[in-house]
């Protein structure tokens, strides 16, 4: 089949698109504070799974799109997401061997760095910020990781040729 090689990139792009939609979809008041870091989770997975095809460059672009969507300082999410992707790329061989709970811990470390960078950048840019609103989503994301992992692995096995 001719368009077969396209299925992989399209599947990956759709998961990233879904993550972006979930990043800005309106939530009731308290939901805003516990909204998982969808984009960071999806990027983290694809970097572990396909480190030679999905790496820091694409993470940077996804970060820039989040900046445009959320109106944050242009480059803030790009920087944070690039570093998350770097950690995932650097550890991808070990991470693949880890049991899920250890993987979740590693996700927690990477996302804590992500949240800290954004918190720091907000502070330097003089934007008011609440620590809880930045770090509670990290905990929620870590708790969600096993399911995200299973879902994206199913997507990869179904659509992305090895």
């Amino acid at each position: 089949m001719k368009g077969r090689w396209l299925r992989g990139p399209v599947a990956v792009a759709l998961t990233v698109f879904a993550a972006l939609v979930l990043t800005v979809v309106p939530m009731p008041g308290w939901g805003e504070v516990v909204r998982p870091l969808w984009a960071a989770l999806v990027v983290f997975y694809w970097v572990i799974a396909l480190p030679e095809r999905f790496s820091v460059g694409l993470a940077w672009i996804v970060g820039l799109l989040i900046d445009a969507l959320t109106g944050s300082l242009l480059g803030a999410h790009a920087l944070a997401l690039t570093l998350v992707a770097f950690l995932a790329a650097r550890w991808h061989l070990k991470l693949r061997m880890f049991p899920l709970w250890q993987q979740s811990l590693a996700v927690g470390v990477a996302l804590a760095l992500y949240a800290f960078l954004l918190f720091w950048i907000d502070g330097m840019a003089g934007r008011m910020n609440h620590p809880l609103a930045r770090f509670l989503p990290v905990a929620v994301s870590v708790a969600l990781w096993p399911w995200i992992y299973a879902l994206l692995r199913a997507v990869r096995r179904r659509f992305v040729p090895a």
Binding site: L64, L74, A78, L79, L83, A85, A89, A125
Partner: protein
């Protein structure tokens, strides 16, 4: 895409060190430029066009719900609404007649005083695509951008009062900061006394803070705050908020005064974009 096999870029043990360094530097440079200069406004505008599908999709369920409820509302309901709207229109028209005569009188008096006549503004309605309410950032996304002549810094109103101002403009959408955003400060005056001050956002949709009123200022709960027109961003004389609480702080130079915004922040679907004088929307 097999460039990654080239181990200068990707080492399986050490990761893409060089590329990460380049990208991090680029991101930092971008942030510095975005923070200090307006140079990347165009880049942001392009990016906002790229992410427009996301915003559209986020809004789709709400829009579909609206369309559905319009389609399904019964004839009786529509007739009832029609009657009510006609009555409201009639009342508004009578009020408008009265205001017209007042406006004429005002112009005449201003003329007598040799004052410059204020340039009346025009308003254009825009829909709200998305509401982004964090404790530290209150933004809304509008479905109007450069295509309707929207520009950064433009004030936003609704039927009840001032809503906020545009902060980023894209080709078809724009982001507006609500007056309750912690980064927002609206130059206001107390309608009863004319005392000018600033109304600063608190991050909470139903509270503004007036941090620069001295302890002995003549202000009390129930006072209406209107835009003072100082600073030149918001037009003069639009209602902003009602003072809810005044607590003098004996140890501090300033009292703690809070107010409730009059605009239906975060609840409306339509807002009005205010165009000053000559600059205006393309129809």
């Amino acid at each position: 895409m097999r460039f990654a096999r080239d181990h200068r870029f990707f080492h399986p043990e050490r990761g893409p060190v060089l590329r990460t360094l380049v990208l991090v530097t680029a991101a930092v440079a971008l942030m510095v430029v975005d923070h200090h200069y307006q140079a990347v406004a165009n880049a942001r505008s392009v990016l906002m066009a790229v992410v427009y599908p996301v915003e559209w999709l986020v809004n789709a369920p709400t829009a579909a719900g609206h369309a559905l409820s319009t389609d399904l509302s019964s004839r009786r309901h529509l007739l009832h609404e029609n009657k009510r709207l006609k009555r409201d229109l009639l009342m508004a028209q009578t009020e408008l007649e009265r205001l017209n005569s007042l406006k004429q009188e005002n112009t005449r008096l201003r003329h007598l005083l040799n004052a410059v006549a204020e340039m009346p503004g025009r308003v254009v309605a825009a829909g709200i695509l998305a509401v982004d309410l964090h404790p530290f950032q209150n933004l809304v996304t509008l479905n109007a951008g450069h295509n309707l002549g929207v520009h950064d810094g433009q004030p936003l109103l609704d039927a009840e009062g001032v809503v906020g101002q545009i902060v980023h403009t894209g080709p078809m959408s724009a982001k507006a900061m609500l007056i309750t955003d912690p980064a927002s400060a609206v130059p206001v005056e107390i309608q009863r006394t004319g005392l000018a001050t600033l109304a600063v956002g608190t991050g909470s949709l139903n509270e503004l803070s007036l941090p620069y009123l001295p302890n002995n200022a003549d202000v009390k709960p129930g006072d209406r705050l209107i835009t003072s027109g100082l600073g030149g961003r918001y037009p003069r004389g639009y209602p902003v908020a009602v003072v809810t609480d005044v607590a003098p702080q004996p140890g501090d130079p300033f009292a703690r005064v809070s107010a409730r915004p009059l605009a239906r922040l975060g609840r409306e679907h339509q807002v009005l974009l205010y165009f000053t004088g000559k600059g205006g929307a393309k129809p």
